[in-house]
């Protein structure tokens, strides 16, 4: 383990089946209110991670392509400088964190985010009575009028680092207690989480491999210079010349 951490993720599009397992895991881990049909119709559904589906090719040679999109935890994030009350800022572990209590809901950050991964609580979140006891006690339940977004399950990162410090153990790469819920839930292992500052971690090796000449790696909207902490690996195969989202 290295001194400072820089958490990040590698998303292998080639492995993603679009099963939405990560979405469900995220919803239950992070106390995200149930997205009903009306929320989708209003375009106000909250999904910290979502699977975007794109169609490639012309009928009948058409293929569905999936890309999971969550907060990219940009090293140079467009959302951070615009928040007037420091509700969102960059912590020293490479995470773009959201302080719910500070947020007053100007939604400036959401407009700034090119990935559209910031969500606003338009209504007071509600859960059915039967689900109230399943809320995660480690995660704040957000109220109406504030922003929220993927935190890379910061509560799990915090707990794992605390426990490893207490027991004088080395935090293992790919530890299931450390991994965000979506990574643990991914059946096809297309999400890999780890520490980019640790040269021996899986994500560092994958990144090095992917970002070299001819590698599969790319960042979303790299031209904006947001320096994201999520690396995508493009699809393998003859029919695909480019990732579907450009």
């Amino acid at each position: 383990m290295v001194d400072s951490n820089k958490w990040g993720m590698v998303v292998d599009i080639d492995r993603c089946t679009g099963c939405q397992g990560c979405v469900v895991a995220c919803q239950s881990e992070n106390n995200i209110p149930i997205n009903l049909e009306e929320h989708f119709n209003q375009r106000r559904a909250i999904q910290w991670i979502r699977i975007e589906r794109y169609w490639e090719g012309e009928y009948p040679d058409v293929k569905a392509r999936f890309i999971p999109i969550m907060c990219q935890h940009c090293g140079s994030a467009p959302c951070e400088p615009v928040c007037p009350v420091y509700a969102t800022y960059h912590n020293n572990e490479g995470l773009n964190v959201q302080v719910y209590n500070r947020c007053i809901g100007t939604r400036f950050c959401a407009n700034g985010c090119p990935y559209h991964v910031r969500f606003f609580n338009f209504w007071e979140p509600e859960w059915p009575e039967s689900l109230k006891n399943q809320l995660n006690p480690d995660v704040t339940v957000r109220s109406r009028g504030i922003m929220e977004k993927c935190s890379f399950c910061v509560q799990r990162i915090q707990r794992s680092t605390r426990e490893s410090e207490r027991d004088n153990e080395i935090l293992e790469d790919g530890d299931r207690g450390l991994n965000p819920a979506c990574v643990n839930a991914c059946a096809s292992n297309s999400l890999i989480f780890g520490n980019f500052n640790d040269p021996d971690s899986t994500v560092s090796k994958m990144k090095e491999d992917a970002m070299q000449e001819g590698g599969r790696g790319y960042r979303l909207m790299e031209n904006l210079g947001t320096d994201t902490n999520v690396i995508y690996l493009r699809k393998v195969g003859e029919s695909v010349v480019e990732a579907p989202h450009g």
């Binding site: 106000r44 615009v82 007037p84 007053i104 100007t106 939604r107 407009n111 606003f120």
Partner: protein
């Protein structure tokens, strides 16, 4: 200026104070109607605060809607005050005299109207104080000075304070006249308090004039900063194609002057019709403001054109998709056509004709058109940009304003009208002392064989005067 009506001080006092000291017939119905609209809007605001912003049409990714467009519009209108009273005062444009106060008062009310909407549209309005006041004692956290949203309240606040002071300083001599003429003792007492003991001694006049000049000079930086900062609310965001543009600051400022000066012309027409002030606001004044408007509108159109050129020059697909949406797709295409036609194509060629420039009716309707167009301009900047025609087609947005949003936007318009009407009831809308000063300085001077009305501030050799009126 060719026309020249010399009025006695007594007549000026009577003309300009009659609406303050008496009540016109239409006043009460108008005020109660506007009051009702304002109350409805406030009701809509409390409804929104109680239920959450879900009652608006906002969604992801269109997180700002007509509220912000309206905010930019009213900040734009507020630029009239500085333009008319500060810049024209410093450049000693004589025709400004009867218009200055109306422009300044409109500035104050439109700034308050502008402040309504962004404060209402935050998610937790009850916590807005953390944002506005630059220090949060309980938590020891400074606001984020990198955010244009921190610069906004300070710039708009400075402007509001400076304009209010300016209005008040220019009001002092007129309040003193009202104090002397009010019949009811209680009214007299209130005016006496407001006049701060102004008696018209040479020292008081000197201080009053000095304060006016100082305030108008000091407020000039705000003229540039307020709308620049408002434009940076948009321009700093790298992820929104239509917004991330370095030309935004000057483009917004010139647009603000365009709509602001047009609003002043509207106001002049209204005061001629409603208060019968045609002895003070004359075709000459409309002529002068229309000439100013031609220059402003053409400059604005040039910046608008440049903004499009810069955007399309990149040939970036999202940028082209955005421009296509803005100009050609339903419902923004028709709105765009209306915007271009009303804000430039109809009014500017019309203003080239002297008969239009000197006609109250024509000037009123052309400037109304300009303001319809300029409101749509802000709408077309804010909303299509946020609909985000990026590569990630999955996230393309749509937006329809809800009834709550529309009510609150209508409320801001009613608020400004109501404020102006109430102000005109309590204090004169045309500065008495300023008009008198203008008339005192008026001379007919002889240049060669012709006799020309002119304004003299310094004494001229005696033979220049044809006759002293």
């Amino acid at each position: 200026m060719q026309e020249h009506t010399q009025l006695s001080h007594k007549q000026i006092n009577e003309d300009l104070l009659k609406d303050v000291l008496t009540v016109p017939k239409w006043w009460l119905p108008a005020v109660s109607f506007l009051g009702l609209v304002v109350l409805t809007g406030l009701g809509a605001f409390f409804f929104m605060m109680y239920h959450g912003l879900g009652v608006t049409g906002l969604n992801r990714p269109v997180m700002w809607g007509v509220f912000i467009a309206n905010f930019v519009f009213w900040i734009g209108i507020s630029h009239a005050g500085i333009m008319i009273s500060a810049i024209l005062r410093l450049t000693q444009a004589e025709w400004r005299r009867p218009i200055t106060r109306a422009a300044e008062v409109m500035t104050v009310f439109s700034l308050i109207a502008a402040l309504h909407t962004p404060l209402m549209h935050v998610g937790r309005p009850w916590r807005v104080l953390y944002w506005i006041f630059p220090y949060d004692f309980s938590r020891g956290i400074w606001p984020n000075v990198r955010s244009p949203f921190v610069w906004d309240p300070s710039a708009v606040g400075t402007y509001l304070i400076a304009s209010s002071l300016f209005v008040f300083v220019c009001l002092l001599p007129d309040i003193a006249i009202l104090r002397d003429r009010a019949k009811k003792p209680i009214v007299k007492k209130i005016y006496a308090q407001m006049a701060l003991g102004f008696r018209g001694t040479p020292r008081q006049w000197k201080l009053q004039i000095l304060a006016g000049i100082l305030l108008s000079a000091l407020v000039l930086p705000v003229f540039v900063s307020v709308h620049s900062i408002v434009s940076w609310d948009f321009a700093v965001l790298i992820g929104v194609e239509g917004w991330h543009s370095t030309i935004f600051a000057p483009y917004f400022i010139i647009g603000a002057i365009h709509s602001g000066v047009s609003a002043v012309a509207m106001l002049m027409a209204l005061s001629v019709w409603l208060y019968g002030l045609d002895k003070y606001i004359k075709p000459d004044h409309f002529d002068a403001i229309a000439r100013l408007l031609i220059v402003v509108a053409t400059t604005w159109f040039f910046f608008f054109f440049l903004e499009w050129v810069y955007a399309l020059y990149t040939l970036a697909p999202p940028e082209i998709a955005l421009r296509e949406l803005q100009a050609f797709q339903w419902p923004y295409g028709p709105l765009f056509a209306i915007f271009i036609i009303t804000s430039f194509v109809i009014p500017v060629p019309l203003w080239l004709f002297k008969r239009v420039r000197r006609s109250v009716v024509w000037m009123f309707w052309t400037t109304v058109l300009v303001n319809i167009g300029m409101w749509l301009e802000r709408f077309l900047i804010v909303i299509p940009g946020l609909i985000r025609r990026t590569h990630m087609t999955f996230d393309w947005g749509t937006y329809h304003p809800s009834i709550v949003e529309i009510l609150i936007v209508v409320e801001t318009f009613a608020f400004v009208c109501l404020g102006m009407l109430l102000f005109a009831k309590v204090l004169p809308l045309i500065p008495l002392f300023d008009v008198k000063e203008g008339m005192v300085n008026r001379r007919l001077i002889k240049v060669g064989r012709r006799v020309i009305p002119a304004t003299i501030r310094e004494g001229l050799p005696h033979h220049y005067y044809e006759k002293k009126q």
